[in-house]
């Protein structure tokens, strides 16, 4: 019994070692969004293509959607752009864009050149909406359910793998929920 007590420090050390070892493989950039489970923040901003036309959070509600934060100054957005256009063509889910801290002219030109995957594009010049969404860099993508509640946030460019493993299953599940709600 007494000898067992002497092993306590070793056991504690091993437990701490395992704990810290796991820490080596965590991605510190992967933060939980504080907004998951909360509605899209209220906003009133211009449509990117037409200055003066106001959009509000009500325009984004009603169906499951992707909310994508992008900008022309962001290289990773250019990387994910072809994937988004391809996704838009497949008509699985509407993609709403938030043009974040950008120049209107440049953004429109870029969409004309590279293709426009966005059903609606919101012009967030000062990054106010981005701030309310807890955005800390572009690109970021939110999955919003049919009630306008943010259900998931992904920081970084999306590609086929992330889409297949994470986003698509979630969207399918939410669309099923939406259908069940609509039927009831």
């Amino acid at each position: 019994m007494k000898k067992l007590v002497l092993f306590i420090p070793l056991v504690l050390f091993l437990a701490m070692g395992v704990f810290l070892y796991q820490g080596l493989f965590l991605n510190p950039q992967k933060l939980d969004s504080a907004l998951e489970g909360k509605p899209i923040p209220a906003f009133q901003l211009e449509r990117l293509e037409t200055p003066g036309e106001m959009l509000t959070d009500a325009d984004l509600k009603g169906q499951v959607s992707l909310l994508n934060i992008w900008a022309t100054w962001c290289p990773a957005c250019k990387y994910e752009h072809p994937f988004l256009t391809m996704l838009a063509r497949r008509n699985i889910v509407p993609i709403y864009g938030i043009n974040y801290r950008d120049e209107r002219e440049l953004a429109i030109k870029e969409l004309r050149r590279e293709g426009d995957p966005y059903a609606i594009n919101i012009f967030d010049k000062d990054g106010r909406l981005g701030l309310d969404l807890g955005v800390y860099g572009a690109p970021e993508t939110f999955i919003v359910d049919h009630n306008g509640i943010i259900r998931f946030r992904y920081a970084g460019p999306i590609d086929q793998n992330i889409w297949k493993d994470t986003l698509y299953p979630m969207i399918q599940q939410l669309q099923a929920e939406a259908k069940a709600d609509g039927a009831a």
Binding site: Q29, D32, A34, G127, L131, Y136
Partner: protein
């Protein structure tokens, strides 16, 4: 000699003055020095979500710049520290707090060291008491056996 001391004083003065002026990154007009002090303290305690090991004042990232300005504005509007911290955590999560809040998730963080300290004291106390008891025991033994021991020693001679 005089020149040396003068130049040392100059260098010291220069270093001190730059140290004082190095903190505020942006030129922001605060209503009062106390506002400025409060805003800078807050911005110092909030972490930049992008450059993760810097606070809002140290970081040059655009999001840190925005958040810094937001903190300054909110201080100027007379919002309380709690309101400002709430504003930040509701958007960026508890992650932005350099000083974690005390709640069920962080009890182990805040109370763990004290538990370990008290545990150490208890462990030490037990050890000391045990040693003392052992000493008492040997004394009793020796008192009883002293005579016998003396006899044995005598017999050897």
């Amino acid at each position: 000699m005089k020149i040396v001391s003068v130049s040392i004083a100059l260098i010291a003065g220069f270093l001190l003055s730059t140290a004082v002026h190095a903190t505020p990154v942006d030129t922001y007009e605060f209503k009062s020095p106390s506002d400025q002090k409060r805003a800078l303290t807050l911005a110092n305690e909030l972490r930049c979500p992008q450059c993760q090991n810097q606070n809002l004042i140290d970081s040059n990232s655009p999001v840190a710049h925005d958040l810094r300005l937001e903190v300054y504005n909110m201080v100027s509007e007379g919002k309380s520290d709690d309101e400002i911290v709430e504003f930040m955590t509701s958007r960026y999560g508890d992650f932005v707090l350099y000083k974690p809040r005390l709640d069920s998730k962080t009890y182990i963080l805040w109370l763990g060291p004290f538990v370990i300290l008290i545990g150490g004291f208890v462990f030490g106390a037990i050890l000391i008491r045990r040693q003392r008891n052992a000493k008492d025991l040997t004394e009793e033994m020796s008192a009883e056996d002293q005579q016998q021991l003396d006899e044995l020693l005598k017999r050897d001679k």
